[in-house]
Symmetry: C2
Subunit: 347 residues, 2 copies
DNA sequence: CAGAATTTGGGGAACGTTTCCCAATGTTCG
DNA sequence: CGAACATTGGGAAACGTTCCCCAAATTCTG
């Protein structure tokens, strides 16, 4: 590493000198804190503008806040997360907070590395989207930094939670398909083995909602769940297994749009037409679902609202560390498109 | 804000005390710096493990490095960026650096806010993906922090550049279509007005590559570019305009897969079959292009390699701030799929 | 074996903020 | 009008590191 220095950054001391005040006063102005007269504020602001001063976030972090909010998401590949992020961003736009993103990957270890990194950087708060870490770990994090968990059910006194009602979402799909005349409605789930996480993960709640709705519609005997994974490949494999059934389903409810993509591939390969031969529904209402040639019936989760609620809760938690935790549950809605229709051979 | 404190974090002083050494020594061990014997190292590491110590990144930033690398991307919606990010992540996995992402939006102002935020947080280096800022601004950033620019042509002594050869990529598409027998090959470009940026933006280079290749194949008279925007809507509108031509094109080369999505929608709406009635090619080889029912011929940019090269250059620049800047240009390849075929009515 | 060079460990001053004070001045009120 | 109180501004001590030194001990060298 060589030693050549870019010109030294303007510091709060430079500003204080230039405005003929103390650094304390400048600091007060910066933070809109009590104890500086309007004239002082004006003078300081002018000096700041003239010198082009920007506070050093690292230094601020040593004593006060870093004005940084960390958002962890499993991957940036899922466009649904982008909606959540937009909601967060919009809500925080007019605050002094900056959002920085980190990817948590799909494992507990990589997720831990990322959350640790956020804590080490003294972020003022974190939003964890669909985390896979154990509940104990989540509580540990929440004990160290204001935390909001998104997209994972189950609550804790230590953190706030924002979810979409996956139970209702799954029911919406079953209702829709049932109303169209379907009886053999199968579901593709993500297989989860860890018992503690089991009930908190959205996929499990969707599966439960599916089961419940099937029973409610008198279709208890038709309940048929294939557990693969929430990936395109998982959908492909799941569909293949379902097609191999002696009495094969007339409709497939995939747990995510991604999964539906795989299902559609498998169906196309098998020479089946959608929705004439078989209906398909997804979950998340991604751009992909909306794309006309695909036209996938899907459940819309209002990602934007999820994000904006998460931001609101986080700001509240930052200012009231000890307030009782709250849970926000949003209601999804079904977007019906061309991939679902009446079954060709009514049961 | 209330005052309740989570238990104080373990500091370097606690470690020093616990290991019966000075903080200096602990610091040396942490940074693998010269001046600590193997025995000391062992002793210190043990203390670190016992206490569960983690260095405070904010405090480190005050004197030394933050071990943080900022990656700015315009949006997380474009799955191509995910490939680049994977490349970056893989390359940095075994280093002490942590990647944090920021979205730059689509404007110079929001991009400036994000880059400023990264600089304020003393990031050790930044990777800017497809930035829209002015060249002067990019050089200003590069003067303050080691910088690698990705996906934007044009070089500077101040920063390193990694691009894909968009000129060649566009030519690949034209060659392919021409070989199939197409002559009326139209192109949908992103309209850019700013003159300084004009030649550096990938879309401009693609358009130029298209023109050049058309001429090289004796199709100079058939050059037909519609300038809308690199969005799905831009593709939709562009396609509509092209279909309204008296002699309409037999093939459309969209500047991005996103754009091709819009094109496909417009074609479906017009009742045209792909590729029987008209061929379509995209750029970026996103998941969407690979999706079987779409099966879009597209140019693959090797995002992973782009990312891994960017990471390599950044690490080099961090350790040799003054080294001459380098430019890496990767070669794209064409992925032929079902959306392109022989023209139905040969010219 | 003396002197030089190297290795090892540590003391303490930065780094750029915020925040706890305290002092001076102005204001209110009984 | 004097005491209590509010307002305004600033001095200086944190915060948790790194890094420039220096001193002591050890090893090398001729």
């Amino acid at each position: 590493m060589d030693t050549s220095q870019p010109p030294r950054r303007v510091t709060i001391i430079d500003v204080a000198r230039h405005a003929n005040v103390s650094t304390t006063t400048v600091s007060k102005v910066l933070r809109n804190a009590y104890g500086a007269s309007p004239e002082m504020r004006a003078k300081v602001r002018e000096a700041i503008a003239e010198l082009g001063y920007r506070p050093d976030a690292a230094a601020r972090g040593m004593r006060g806040q870093t004005y940084t909010i960390g958002v962890m998401l499993p991957t940036i590949r899922n466009p649904f997360f982008a909606d959540i992020l937009d909601g967060l961003t919009d809500r925080l736009r007019d605050t002094d907070y900056q959002i920085l993103l980190g990817t948590g990957g799909d494992g507990e270890d990589t997720e831990e590395r990322m959350t640790d990194a956020m804590i080490d950087r003294r972020m003022d708060g974190v939003v964890l989207i669909a985390p896979v870490s154990s509940r104990a770990r989540l509580e540990q994090i929440a004990g160290l930094v204001p935390t909001v968990i998104v997209g994972r059910h189950g609550n804790s006194p230590l953190y706030d939670v924002v979810t979409d009602d996956d139970f209702v979402g799954a029911a919406l799909v079953v209702e829709h398909l049932s109303a169209l005349g379907h009886r053999r409605i199968a579901h593709i789930d993500h297989s989860e083995t860890d018992p503690t996480r089991l009930l908190e993960m959205p996929n499990a709640v969707r599966a439960e909602g599916y089961r419940h709705a099937m029973r409610a519609h008198g279709l208890a005997d038709e309940i048929d769940i294939v557990a693969t994974s929430y990936t395109q490949e998982g959908g492909y494999i799941g569909a293949q297994r379902l097609l191999a059934r002696p009495r094969r389903p007339t409709a497939i409810f995939a747990g995510a749009d991604f999964v539906a993509m795989g299902v559609l591939e498998a169906l196309a390969e098998a020479g089946l037409k959608v929705p004439e031969d078989i209906s398909v529904a997804g979950y998340d209402n991604t751009t992909f679902a909306a794309f006309a040639p695909v036209s996938l019936t899907s459940v819309d989760q209002a990602g934007h609202q999820i994000g904006s609620n998460a931001a609101r809760l986080l700001l509240e938690r930052i200012s009231h560390r000890q307030a009782p935790s709250s849970q926000v549950k949003l209601t999804p809605k079904l977007v019906v498109r061309g991939s679902t229709g009446r079954p060709s051979v009514p049961d």
